[in-house]
Amino acid sequence: MLKQRKKRMCRFCENGVKYVDYKDPKILLKFTSDVGKIIPRRTSGTCAKHQRQLVKAIKRARHLALIPFVSDGAR
């Protein structure tokens, strides 16, 4: 299932993003699953550098209750 689109670009690199902000839930939620889990790099296509920044940002946002730790998909 994952071998189909192997060479996708990192969405942050494409746009030249240098810093992933924890204060931006709209973007962060795109990288979490429907239950709120962080999507792995091999699925999202993010590069290593941005994935590290992203994970840090997501965890900070979770602490500030901007995004949930767990959600049940429907909400």
Partner: protein
């Protein structure tokens, strides 16, 4: 003197004036301890992603300021002792963050360019853009 950013969440069950008073209190606490407030960003009342102390809403505030390295400990202690602050997070602002903000600002002011900017072009431009920001913001704040 380094730039910091602190985001905190105030309980919405307080009256509006009490919330304003709390924000002023922290602003004064920063200035009183030798720091300079650069910008105060009030996000207002937001729904929390999960309940905190049985509450569903919180009033978010983000303060950008400059202070020396020893200040953070005092600030966090203040937050901790304040019963109306539900969450707080203080961060050092990295160069990457400043660059990103300058990049986004440049993009907004250009507006016609739909195809996304090329930040790699002029790294120096980005750094100098950062400085005028610092000087502009105190005027906005009052």
């Amino acid at each position: 003197m380094r730039q910091y950013e602190t985001t905190f969440v105030i309980d919405t069950h307080l009256a509006d004036e009490a919330i304003e008073k709390a924000i002023e209190k922290y602003k004064d606490f920063i200035s009183g301890n030798g720091g300079t407030v650069i910008n105060v960003d009030r996000w207002g009342k937001r729904r929390l992603a999960y309940e905190i102390r049985k509450k569903q809403y919180g009033y978010y505030v983000c303060i950008r300021f400059e202070a020396d390295a020893t200040f953070n400990e005092k600030l966090e202690k203040e937050f901790k002792l304040d019963g109306s602050i539900l969450r707080y997070l203080t961060l050092l602002i990295s160069k990457a963050q400043l660059q990103e903000e300058a990049r986004l600002k440049a993009r907004k002011s250009r507006n016609f360019d739909a195809s996304g900017s090329k930040p790699e072009q002029a790294p120096e431009k980005i750094e100098t853009e950062g400085k005028p920001d610092d000087q502009e913001a105190p005027k906005q704040e009052v």
